[in-house]
C-alpha cells in the first residue's frame, strides 16, 4: 500500500516535471479560474457591506404621547424585542434627547433655532427608533403590532407609511444585488470548472496511448489513475499558492481605491479577517477541480 502510494507520487512528479509546458499551462488556467472564484468572494464582501449600510439607513420611528412614562416605553421596547426576532436595533429617544439632537443638528440654522425658542416648551415627543433586517413586511408587522396591541393608547404616531415606498425600494435594490451576485457566481463557477476540465483533458489526452498501454500490461485502474490524481493535486496546490499571494497583493493595492467608493470598507482587512475562508475556498476549488477533472478524463480512457 505504502509502496504503491510512494510510486504514485513519484510518477506524478515525473510527469509534472517532464511535461513542463502542459504543467505550466494547466496551472495558469487553474490560477485564472481560482481568481475568478476569489473575486466573487471579494464582490460578496463589498455587496454585503453595501446592503448592510443601506439597510441600516432605513428605520421606522414610533412616537409616543407626551405623557407616556419612560418605564412604559421601555416595556414596549422589551415586548417588541420578544415578538420580532428580526429587529436589529431598537433605540429609545427621550423628549430631552430628541431636543438635544435637533439643536445640535440645526445649530447653524438661525431660523430653526429661533422657531424652537418661540415654541418655548420642548415640542418633541419620546420615541422608539427601530431597525430590522430591511424587509418591508417586517416593518409592516411591527407597525401593526404597535397600532393594535395594548400599547396602542401610548402611541401617538408611527412613520411607517410615510417611509413605506423608500423601504420597499431599498429592499428591492439590496435583494437584486444579492440575487445578481448568486447568479453571476454560479455562472462564473460553472465557466471556471469547464475551462479547467478542458485544460486537464488536453493535458491527459497526450497520455491517452500511455494509459492504454498501462492497462494492457496489467496495471489496475487505481495504479493508472493514481498519478493523474496526484498530478491534479500538485497543480491545485501550486495554483492555490499563487492565488493566495495574488489575492493578498490585490486586496492591499486596491484597498484605498475601494475605500474611496465605499467609505468604511477596508478590502485588505476584509481579506485578513476572512483569510482562512479564502484559503479554504481556493484550496478546495483548486485541488478539488484539478482532481475531479483528472478523474473524469482518465475514466474515459480506462474502459478497455
Amino acid at each position: 500500500m505504502f509502496t504503491n502510494i510512494s510510486r504514485t507520487i513519484k510518477f506524478a512528479f515525473n510527469n509534472f516535471s517532464r511535461n513542463k509546458g502542459i504543467s505550466i499551462a494547466t496551472i495558469f488556467v487553474l490560477v485564472v479560474a481560482i481568481m475568478l472564484v476569489t473575486s466573487l468572494f471579494f464582490f460578496r464582501g463589498i455587496t454585503n457591506y453595501l446592503t448592510t449600510e443601506l439597510k441600516n439607513k432605513i428605520d421606522i420611528t414610533a412616537y409616543f404621547i407626551e405623557n407616556a412614562s419612560e418605564e412604559d416605553i421601555l416595556n414596549v421596547k422589551e415586548e417588541l424585542l420578544k415578538i420580532s426576532p428580526n429587529i436589529k436595533s431598537i433605540e429609545y429617544i427621550s423628549k430631552e434627547k430628541a431636543y438635544a439632537i435637533f439643536s445640535e443638528k440645526y445649530q447653524d440654522s438661525e431660523v430653526l433655532q429661533r422657531a424652537l425658542l418661540e415654541v418655548g416648551d420642548n415640542p418633541f415627543l419620546p420615541s422608539l427608533n427601530i431597525i430590522t433586517n430591511g424587509d418591508p413586511a417586517e416593518y409592516q408587522e411591527i407597525s401593526n403590532t404597535l397600532e393594535t396591541s395594548v400599547f396602542s393608547s401610548l402611541i401617538h404616531k408611527i412613520d411607517f407609511y410615510q417611509k413605506k415606498d423608500t423601504i420597499e425600494k431599498v429592499y428591492s435594490i439590496t435583494s437584486n444585488i444579492n440575487r445578481f451576485g448568486i447568479i453571476a457566481g454560479i455562472i462564473l463557477i460553472i465557466i471556471s470548472i469547464l475551462v479547467v476540465l478542458n485544460t486537464v483533458k488536453l493535458a491527459i489526452d497526450s497520455s491517452k496511448d500511455e494509459i492504454s498501454t498501462m492497462k494492457i500490461v496489467g496495471a489496475s485502474d487505481w495504479f493508472v489513475r493514481g498519478p493523474f490524481i496526484a498530478e491534479g493535486i500538485i497543480y491545485g496546490l501550486i495554483a492555490f499558492l499563487f492565488c493566495i499571494l495574488f489575492s493578498g497583493i490585490f486586496a492591499y493595492l486596491f484597498s484605498a481605491k475601494v475605500s474611496v467608493i465605499l467609505p468604511g470598507f477596508n478590502m485588505f482587512n476584509y481579506f485578513l479577517n476572512n483569510f482562512w475562508l479564502f484559503v479554504l475556498i481556493q484550496l478546495i476549488f483548486g485541488v478539488g477541480v484539478g482532481v475531479v477533472s483528472s478523474l473524469v478524463v482518465v475514466k474515459k480512457y480506462l474502459d478497455i
Binding site: 509502496t3 515525473n14 496511448d209 498501462m214 492497462k215 500490461v217 496489467g218 489496475s220
Partner: protein, 226 residues
C-alpha cells in the same frame, strides 16, 4: 492454457474479422500465427488479452472463460502475458529503466528486486548504457529491444509477439528471434504473429494459418504457406 472455441468477431456494420476460429495452445508451446495483413491476427491477440470480446464463441485462459471475468481478474491475466508489439507501445515520458521497471511496479515488487531484475534484463538486451535515455532517443532496433526487455523482465508465462520484427533489419530480426526461442526453451509459451515467411520457415514449429479470418491450416511443424 489458451483455448478459442468457435470464435467469431464481427465489427459493425458487418465486417467479420474472425470466423468460427477454434484452437488450443498448450503451456510451453511456440506457435506462429501467420496471415496477410487484415487476416485477423491482431484481433486474436486482443481477445487473448481481454481487450475485445468475441461476437460469438468463447475464449478460455487456464480454463476460465474471459467473458465471465471482472476487470481485476482480466488485469491479473494481463500481468501474466507479456506483449511485444510492432509499434513497441513504450512509455514516451519514461526512461528506458522506468519503462522496464513499470511492469514490476505494477506487480508491487520491492525497489531492490526491481533494481536487480531491470539491471539484469537491460544487460542481457544490451541497453545498460542507455537506461537514462528516453525512447525517442533510441534507434528503431533499440526501441524494439527495449520492448523485448519489458516483456521479459517479469519472467512471463506467455509472450505474445505481434509482428516483432516488422520494422527491423535482418540482423536485429535474427537477434529478436533468437531471444524468443531462448525464452521458449526456458519454459515460456510464445505466440508469434507475423507475415514474415522467412522467420516462420526457419523456426520449424507449430504454425496456424489465417486467411480472411478463418483457420485454413494448423500444423505441428508447419511452414508459411498462403
Amino acid at each position: 492454457m489458451i483455448k478459442f472455441e468457435k470464435v467469431t468477431k464481427i465489427y459493425p456494420p458487418n465486417n467479420a474479422v474472425l470466423q468460427d476460429v477454434s484452437f488450443e495452445i498448450e503451456e510451453g508451446e511456440f506457435v506462429s500465427v501467420v496471415g496477410k495483413s487484415g487476416a485477423g491476427k491482431t484481433t486474436l491477440t486482443r481477445m487473448i488479452l481481454g481487450l475485445e470480446e468475441p461476437s460469438y464463441g468463447e475464449v478460455f485462459f487456464n480454463g476460465k472463460n474471459l467473458r465471465n471475468l471482472n476487470s481485476s481478474e482480466i488485469q491479473s491475466i494481463r500481468r501474466k502475458i507479456s506483449g511485444i508489439y510492432q509499434d513497441y507501445k513504450l512509455f514516451p515520458a519514461k526512461t528506458v529503466y522506468e519503462n522496464v521497471a513499470y511492469i514490476l511496479e505494477v506487480e508491487g515488487k520491492s525497489y531492490n528486486l526491481i533494481k536487480d531484475e531491470v539491471s539484469k534484463v537491460l544487460e542481457l538486451i544490451g541497453l545498460s548504457d542507455k537506461k537514462e535515455n528516453f525512447p525517442k532517443e533510441l534507434s528503431g532496433g533499440e526501441q524494439q529491444r527495449l520492448a523485448i526487455a519489458r516483456a521479459l523482465v517479469n519472467h512471463p508465462k506467455i509472450i505474445i509477439a505481434d509482428e516483432p520484427t516488422g520494422n527491423l533489419d535482418p540482423y536485429n530480426t535474427y537477434e529478436v528471434m533468437f531471444l524468443l526461442e531462448k525464452i521458449n526453451k526456458a519454459g515460456a509459451t510464445v505466440i508469434l504473429l507475423t507475415h514474415d515467411r522467412e522467420v516462420v520457415n526457419k523456426l520449424d514449429k507449430r504454425v496456424i494459418t489465417l486467411v480472411n479470418g478463418r483457420i485454413i491450416r494448423d500444423e505441428k511443424k508447419g511452414k508459411f504457406i498462403i
